[in-house]
């Protein structure tokens, strides 16, 4: 593997060993991107290199989101004086195995990556007032031992349903296992009505782990402000809209919502947090 058409490195930093933190742009509650953006913002992240979209993404045109033209990106970042690398990427549409192997090749060869952590949100029918939990799925007993020192739910049993497919993070975890790279997928349940917006509480939960585990020095003030602001907005809306309050109260009492109620709640919260209320 050498640089060329498939990837480019902008700098050649020296690593003895490093950890790779992976986030996918298509994530529930924008959890992964928000976590890595916060880290790069706080720690002065710089681009290290990128994977070319050719062969992995549809290049037949562009999508527009929030009035902005989007183009697939797959970039590595480094935060100065820290031994970890961030990989933030769109999930490829084609040649998934080739893409994952390229990420791992680059990570091992150029960044001496010895551990990998993916970050992702999972949708849960819970209320935003429920404390977030950090969950992990590991690919080795070695990683399980490492995570034992943290407050993480690490004993899940799961099988993909017949009509669904595994996440791309699970695919990466499996490929890392073949290469004997101890890795973990870190998951935080996100209340379903925050899945289209952001969940700063979930973001903080992951950040707390990464800060402690990777021995980072960051301020939580900004994310704390976001949590407070979001909670206040929702509280105010609960006071103004009895239906919305009723739906959230039901969830807080561990009662389910009908499909119609759930849809209304998602719509109301989306409008509220995007500022159209």
């Amino acid at each position: 593997m050498s640089q060329g058409q498939s990837f480019k490195l902008f700098t050649r930093p020296k690593f003895d060993s490093s950890s790779l933190v992976v986030a996918w742009n298509q994530d529930v509650g924008r959890l992964g991107p928000k976590v890595v953006d916060y880290l790069t913002g706080q720690l002065g992240g710089r681009e290290l290199g990128e994977i070319s979209p050719e062969g992995f993404f549809s290049l037949s045109g562009i999508t527009v989101e929030g009035d902005i033209a989007q183009f697939p990106e797959s970039k590595f970042y480094r935060c100065r004086n820290n031994n970890f690398v961030i990989f933030r990427s769109d999930i490829p549409r084609f040649d998934w195995y080739g893409f994952i192997n390229l990420v791992l090749d680059i990570a091992e060869k150029y960044f001496k990556v010895k551990q990998i952590y993916t970050v992702g949100g999972m949708v849960l029918p819970s209320a935003h007032t429920t404390p977030r939990t950090l969950m992990s799925v590991v690919n080795s007993s070695e990683m399980k031992k490492i995570l034992r020192n943290y407050d993480i739910v690490d004993d899940m049993d799961y099988e993909t349903r017949e009509d669904q497919r595994p996440t791309f993070s699970s695919y990466l975890l499996w490929a890392a296992k073949i290469r004997d790279i101890p890795s973990a997928c870190l998951w935080v349940p996100v209340p379903f009505y925050l899945m289209t917006v952001e969940d700063p509480q979930a973001c903080k939960k992951v950040l707390e782990f990464l800060v402690r585990h990777l021995e980072l020095k960051i301020s939580f003030a900004d994310i704390d402000d976001e949590v407070t602001e979001q909670n206040q907005k929702i509280e105010l809306a609960r006071g103004r809209f009895p239906d919305l309050d009723g739906y959230i109260s039901k969830l807080e009492s561990n009662l389910g919502l009908t499909a119609d109620e759930g849809e209304k709640l998602v719509k109301e919260i989306d409008e509220l947090l995007r500022g159209s209320h």
Binding site: Y97, V137, V138, K144, R161, Q164, T167, K177
Partner: protein, 305 residues
């Protein structure tokens, strides 16, 4: 990366029967049933991870135990005359997001399958799929046959209950076979191998149903077992037909009466030459398929992990 063979059976002039899923699972059901009925033994596979997105993750106690991919397996059966080689693919590989094989991955897989077949001396290939036809579900489906050379035409004309493309009204001997069940015929032709695709008919309105159509599979099974000179019991497929007839009838009853009236005309259609003008217009077809879609709307997506 590529093919893994667990053993190298000695085969006599083997015939390859290869199949991937398609409309109504007609071909795959017939070929897989044939494989089971003759008790063919598994002897190899094409490694999947370079071709497919995984289909299932297994997590136990917070640890990823396994990631399963769609399988692509080879089987063989010694018959004493022409031995049988089977290849069954659980999904069609594609470079695009489509259901049917397309692009370099599909071409690579077709070549890998034929590499194995030729390694064992195979010179004849069968594939199978579905032919969407203006027929009613109460009529006996026929089998459309497409060989990959003129030299095979006389032979396939001799198969019972079959139709050539040239016998289908309005087709003038032309058409296409989507996905690997078709592509394999072309790749075989390029290599000088004889190949025939046998496609069981499926009523136009049923190909949108998310349920198999074993009646079409039985028609394929009858043609394949005769062509390969193997006798197979039909009890299992007959039971499946009975079950699916009940399911189809229950869906049929839920269709709006004006759609049912249109569909009932298909009981009397002869669409092969010579024929009366088609009783259902293109606009009718569009409406019928829209109604069917409405009945079977469903969600698929990524799992939690």
């Amino acid at each position: 990366m590529g093919v893994r063979l667990y053993n190298e059976p000695e085969l006599v002039d083997p015939v390859l029967i290869a199949c991937w899923p398609g409309i109504g699972n007609i071909g795959i059901m017939a070929v897989d049933m044939l494989r089971r009925m003759v008790a063919a033994e598994e002897f190899g596979e094409i490694e999947s991870w370079d071709f497919f997105y995984p289909r299932r993750v297994l997590i136990r106690g917070g640890e990823l135990i396994d990631l399963e991919f769609p399988y692509n397996k080879f089987y063989f059966k010694k018959t004493g005359k022409k031995d049988l080689l089977f290849f069954i693919g659980e999904e069609q590989p594609s470079d695009s997001a489509g259901v049917y094989a397309e692009g370099t991955k599909a071409y690579r897989m077709a070549n890998l399958v034929l590499d194995v077949a030729q390694r064992f001396g195979c010179r004849r290939v069968y594939t199978s799929g579905a032919a969407v036809a203006p027929i009613h579900h109460t009529t006996r489906p026929r089998v459309w046959v497409v060989p990959n050379s003129k030299g095979l035409l006389d032979e396939v004309k001799g198969y019972e209950n079959t139709v050539l493309m040239s016998e289908v009204e309005g087709r003038d001997g032309q058409g296409n076979i989507t996905g690997l069940n078709g592509l394999l015929l072309g790749v075989a032709k390029k290599r000088g191998l004889e190949a025939i695709c046998v496609m069981g008919e499926i009523p136009i309105y049923i190909h949108g149903f998310p349920i198999p159509y074993p009646k079409g599979s039985k028609a394929v099974l009858e043609v394949l077992s005769a062509a390969l000179a193997v006798k197979i019991p039909m009890d299992e497929i007959n039971a499946l037909i009975q079950q699916s007839d009940t399911e189809i009838e229950s869906v049929y009853e839920k269709l709006p009466s004006e759609i049912k009236e249109q569909l009932d005309k298909l009981r009397y259609v002869v669409y092969t030459k010579p024929s009366e003008p088609e009783p259902i217009t293109e606009e009718d077809k569009r409406k019928i398929l829209q109604e069917i879609d409405k009945l079977f709307k469903k969600d698929t997506g990524r799992g939690q992990f």
